[in-house]
């Protein structure tokens, strides 16, 4: 008898016993006699579903089989099932193009969420699988364009290392030991913990910490129903200063929407709009339309030659953090050349031309040249060109100017240029809209009342502009304040957040996340196991944006509101779920009234929410049905040009009072407009109803003075008079745009540089390096150095340096509450961290700057993000390489995806030895190891581009 026969006999014996008697009842988990309707019930059913293997008659549909078998496909034994659609790959491409690939495909319009731009997309769904994603031409903002990230959504949806099941930590926090639990177990445990927090009388000790989120209503509903305001975000790591600067001028909007498509001159201060702007493709495509269709000139100031700078008509590399100085000098030149719009300044700003002359007098182009290095002649020339193009001219800025300790003033100064030339609100000029999100025609179903809790984490009193107009918060201080004992969290829920990678001071973040005394209980909601999930107690598998619902929209560059739909293209994989699905269940388990806010199913809720979307006369569809059909709806409002000139209606004026001396119009004590030319118009939504170049409000709010009269006059009554807990946290904020240089930049030693940070067009910081199509394009981030700088340090391309980063002296002076005595001191500077990286030499960077991109250096977040092809520990060891187990799906014997076979060339085999490292291999380095926690003292914006570093050659 052969071994095989013996073995088979044993399996027959085993099978006989396994299929007999009671044991047969506890095997057979796969089949379900009936698909459950309630998704939460699925898991319960799955676990209890049993089948008596021997007891049921055959259910085979042999007729069906014979029909398939009878088709002219020769299976020949071991081949594919007939009619199966091929995915991209070498085998599929042999017969490319597959004429049947898009046969019987369903096109599902939806919205992307691989970055914050949320472009319209269309998913091609065949047999329950998404086989292609493209842009949705119906989306009024993105107009059918879709970037590389959006295309890589397929990697995101079908990534082999996606989280599919809830898990509970087994070992110590951060040890990486887990076991699967059911959704019931997970929700029971979370509910028990949250209920205890709620009943402790300190609901604010439950904090929800979000990364990129586009389900604002769902999160707010849950947190309000629970009773906590501790909703933490990354806004201060992103756009706090730009928003604060805009708000000082406008009050009603924190987001400038530069009308670049109709512009003739675009002055870009540090924005990498072609790659990394929040407006991304909608904005970039309009810039190019403006240039090619309208002849617009694009001038870029950026310490680094970004792809935007490289694609501009002119590029200047100012000394880091001096954008505001250049802008003020341009303002000076415009006034000096008498090219200002005197009428706009007089009619629509709250300063006189004489006041501006006085204020701008010291800011000469020569002064700015000394500070920035930008030639005075160019500053003057560009200022003149800009003014001559008015009103179809606009500035644009973003993190390049705002992510500095002086970023608030930088952006104030840049915005001033638009006021001087009268391009504010004009076609082709510097615009904004009232609609930062959804068209107000869609009404969110009734929400719970807002809680009254306060937490130092959510509203740190030291940052006067962080929370007065908008809840911008100061995200980067969260872990520091927890470490310093200024707050504690009984429960912490993270959502689409990768703070160990994206927050400054990686080691501090890790330390706090590990500490169970400071964070008692941590639930992480994510699609992938990232660096945050690594420190969680329970991980919940989140559905991807192609498997869930939202109504969504961004501030539209059409300057009119719209509403788009994110809809499940396919069922969530595994047991992954969206918060819309499990928050109601969690609320029911917590009880105490929370449950009453969840009476509708998700579909019912969406139908109610979208019910006001009007009927499309062509299709007859309205509401959710219309959005499901088209993906987006945009009304026919006029674009929001010159809103200050919009006349108030008779209805508006009914019961209104006009102040005869100022012309201000109020109703019930609240400002609604101003008299201009004898007519009541809307004006700006500021206390003066003018574009507030001089802001009395910021000065008073910095001093915690009562601003209720200013708030009422503006009509923006949601503006907060600072909370009583802010008293004694005073700060001097200048009423006018000024500029100052941080102390450490003034005293920069010869061997020191300023580290700056940037983002690539294929990545979005912490969330895309796991996608192989994108990781192939960018996976590493050596430090950029100017060749002049390299020569001074004796460096050549590919050499390694040791970078030591320092904490800001300016912040030591201005923000003593940060109390960074914990950092060791070296040569009079507080040392944050040291890291070794290779350098790449580039002319396209300022000689006093060192640039490292973000997005790199993952140590979790899938093997792709870590550039690992095998699970072998020592890749430098040849035998380990040979025997190292292949990671998911990369076994060359079976793996047939050309992308991977061809492209996983970037695995780093150096084993950490710089002498063995090959350029463009590995997964890079986390720049946030070096960058200190560094909030602008006014708004709290993280200063990502100000860090002073010392470098020395390794070896």
């Amino acid at each position: 008898m052969s071994d095989l026969d013996t073995s088979r006999r044993r399996f027959i014996e085993l099978g006989m016993l396994a299929s007999a008697g009671a044991f047969a009842g506890i095997i057979g988990l796969g089949r379900q006699e009936k698909a459950p309707t309630d998704s939460l019930k699925v898991d319960v059913d799955r676990q209890s579903s049993t089948k008596d293997a021997g007891a049921q008659p055959s259910q085979l549909d042999i007729e069906k089989w014979l029909k398939l078998r009878g088709k002219p496909y020769d299976l020949g034994g071991f081949k594919e099932m007939p009619g199966v659609c091929k995915l991209p790959g070498p085998n599929a491409k042999r017969n490319w193009p597959d004429r049947n690939k898009y046969k019987d495909v369903k096109r599902v319009p939806s919205m992307c969420q691989l970055c914050s731009t949320v472009c319209g997309i269309v998913g091609y769904v065949k047999d329950g699988r998404v086989i292609k994603i493209e842009g949705n031409p119906n989306d009024p903002n993105s107009r059918g364009y879709l970037c590389a990230r959006g295309q890589a959504g397929l990697n995101h949806l079908y990534h082999p290392e996606r989280l599919l099941y809830p898990m509970r930590r087994v070992g110590k926090r951060g040890e990486g030991k887990w076991k699967r639990i059911s959704w019931d177990e997970a929700l029971d445990e979370i509910a028990e913990r949250l209920k205890a927090v709620r009943e402790s009388g300190k609901p604010e000790e439950f904090a929800f910490h979000q990364g990129r989120q586009r389900s604002k209503d769902a999160l707010a509903r849950f947190l309000k129903a629970f009773g906590t305001n501790s909703q933490l975000s990354h806004r201060a790591l992103c756009s706090g200063n730009r928003r604060a600067a805009n708000l000082t001028y406008l009050w009603e909007s924190d987001w400038d929407l530069n009308d670049v498509e109709h512009s003739k001159y675009i002055l870009n201060f540090g924005s990498n709009a072609f790659e990394a702007h929040q407006g991304h493709v909608p904005f970039a495509s309009r810039i190019q339309n403006g240039r090619f269709n309208n002849g617009a000139k694009l001038i870029t100031f950026d310490v680094r030659m970004s792809n935007t700078a490289g694609g501009s008509d002119e590029w200047f590399a100012p000394f880091p953090g001096t954008d505001g100085a250049v802008a003020l000098a341009m303002c000076h030149s415009i006034l000096a050349e008498n090219l200002h719009d005197a009428e706009f300044i007089s009619e629509w700003t709250n300063v006189t031309v004489d006041e501006l002359h006085d204020h701008l007098r010291p800011y000469t182009p020569q002064w700015a040249e000394q500070i920035s290095g930008v030639p005075a002649a160019d500053i003057k020339r560009i200022a003149i060109e800009f003014a001559q193009a008015a009103p179809a001219c606009t500035t644009m800025c973003n993190r390049g100017s705002s992510a500095h300790i002086n970023g608030f003033y930088n952006d104030r100064a840049i915005n001033l240029l638009n006021a001087l030339v009268g391009s504010v609100g004009k076609k082709g000029g510097w615009c904004w809209s009232l609609w930062g999100g959804l068209d107000p025609l869609v009404k969110t179903p009734p929400m719970p009342p807002s809680p009254k809790t306060w937490s130092v984490l959510e509203d740190p009193p030291e940052y006067p502009l962080a929370n007065v107009w908008r809840r911008m918060r100061v995200g980067e201080i969260i872990y520091l304040y927890l470490l310093q004992g200024r707050a504690k969290l009984q429960a912490y829920m993270t959502y689409n957040l990768d703070s160990p990678l994206t927050w400054p001071e990686e080691s501090l973040t890790q330390k706090v996340l590990t500490d169970e005394d400071r964070i008692n209980f941590h639930v992480c909601i994510n699609c992938f196991y990232n660096e945050t999930a690594h420190y969680a107690d329970i991980v919940l598998p989140w559905a991807t944006y192609m498997e869930r619902w939202d109504l969504d929209a961004r501030a539209s560059y059409n300057l009119r509101p719209y509403v788009g739909l994110r809809t499940p293209m396919v069922e969530p994989l595994g047991e992954s779920k969206d918060v819309r699905e499990f928050f109601p269940e969690l609320a029911r388990r917590i009880g105490g009234g929370m449950e009453k806010w969840y009476e509708d199913s998700v579909e019912e809720y969406m139908e109610k929410w979208a019910s006001n979307v009007p009927k499309n006369p062509k299709t007859g569809k309205s509401g959710l049905e219309r959005l499901l059909d088209e993906g987006a709806y945009e009304g026919d409002r006029e674009p929001f040009y010159e809103p200050y000139n919009i006349q108030l209606s008779d209805d508006d004026m009914k019961g209104a009072t006009v102040d005869q001396s100022s012309g201000l119009i109020t109703k019930d004590g609240v400002g609604i407009g101003v008299i201009k030319g004898g007519k009541p118009v809307r004006g700006f939504a500021t206390p003066s109803r003018r574009f507030e170049i001089r802001s009395l409000f910021v000065e008073k709010i910095g001093k915690n003075q009562d601003c209720s009269d200013l708030i009422a006059a503006s009509g923006v009554t949601k503006t907060k008079n600072r909370h009583s807990s802010h008293q004694s946290h005073d700060l001097d904020i200048n009423q006018l745009p000024i500029w100052f240089q941080p102390q450490e930049h003034q005293e920069l030693a010869d061997d020191e540089l300023i580290m700056t940070s940037f983002k690539w067009n294929v990545h979005n910081h912490g969330r895309t390096m796991n996608l192989k199509w994108l990781a192939e394009i960018v996976h590493s981030n050596p430090a950029w150095l100017n060749p002049q700088t390299a020569e001074r340090f004796g460096l050549k391309d590919g050499d390694w340096i040791e970078v030591t980063s320092y904490y800001s002296q300016e912040l030591d002076k201005q923000s003593p509450h940060l109390n960074r005595a914990d950092l060791p001191t070296e040569n009079g500077r507080r040392v944050v961290a040291t890291m070794r990286v290779p350098v790449v030499l580039m002319e396209g960077i300022h000689p006093r700057a060192l640039a490292m991109s973000n997005s790199c250096g993952h140590w979790q977040y899938t093997n792709v993000a870590q550039a690992r092809r095998t699970n072998g520990e020592a890749l430098s060891n040849e035998s380990a390489k040979e025997s190292g187990t292949h990671i998911v799906g990369s076994a060359p014997a079976t793996y047939r995806d050309a992308d991977w076979e061809r492209n996983m060339w970037w695995e780093d085999a150096s084993d950490g030895d710089p002498t063995q490292w090959k350029p463009n291999t590995g997964n890079g380095w986390n720049q946030n190891r070096l960058i200190p926690i560094s909030p602008d003292p006014i708004s709290g914006q993280q200063a990502f581009h100000d860090t002073v570093v010392a470098i020395k050659k390794v070896g």
Partner: protein
């Protein structure tokens, strides 16, 4: 009767048992039953290695090993055909499996190309090979095609996972599945059906 159809009910039982082992980590009732003779003897005779007890700590250890091997969250080996053939979820294997599930009237909320589901469906097909089956040749043909399409992909998964197991139990489950499928492969390869005989 074709050789592949011999002992089909018993072989289906082995498929069913292995399906259960792959679909979910063991729990107390299952492990208690598995550890009772004569099933325990048959299990070990077939290459299985049982833990010393079914205590909570043992179950936890097994759950952790199962999770680390097949569920993640990191450096794991998802037992899905698409993952090992296409490097992603929801490859062609899913579309093909859906057709076989339809033929087998097999409804599941699980991802259909999970090895556990695939083993369970094979059991389902074999169980139809009863002595009074209406069309045994067609069933054998179906079983053979199904096996050939959806069960030969597993060796890289087994090889990788075996290296990373920390418990004898799961090592033996993987090895036993590998050996069983090897034996089945030989049987089905030898069982070519003349299409002319299929009505």
């Amino acid at each position: 009767m074709n050789v592949a159809a011999e002992h089909s009910t018993a072989i289906a039982g082995t498929y069913r048992l292995l399906a259960r082992l792959w679909l979910r980590e063991v729990d107390t009732p299952f492990l208690d039953s598995l550890m009772q003779a004569p099933l325990s003897n048959a299990f070990t005779a077939a290459g299985g290695s049982l833990p010393e007890d079914a205590s909570p700590s043992t179950l936890e250890e097994l759950s952790v090993d199962y999770c680390r091997l097949f569920l993640g969250p990191a450096r794991h080996f998802p037992p899905f055909q698409s993952v090992w053939e296409r490097g992603q979820f929801q490859g062609e294997a899913v579309q093909s499996m859906n057709q076989y599930l339809s033929i087998a009237n097999y409804e599941t909320e699980l991802m259909p190309d999970h090895l556990g589901v695939q083993l369970d469906v094979m059991a389902e097909i074999l169980e139809a090979l009863t002595p009074d089956a209406q069309n045994p040749n067609a069933i054998v043909d179906l079983a053979r095609c199904y096996f050939g399409t959806h069960l030969p992909w597993t060796d890289p998964l087994f090889d990788s996972a075996i290296e990373q197991t920390t418990t004898d139990f799961y090592r033996s489950v993987i090895e036993m599945t590998r050996d069983f499928l090897k034996s089945e492969h030989a049987v089905w390869r030898a069982s070519a059906v003349n299409l002319d005989t299929v009505p």
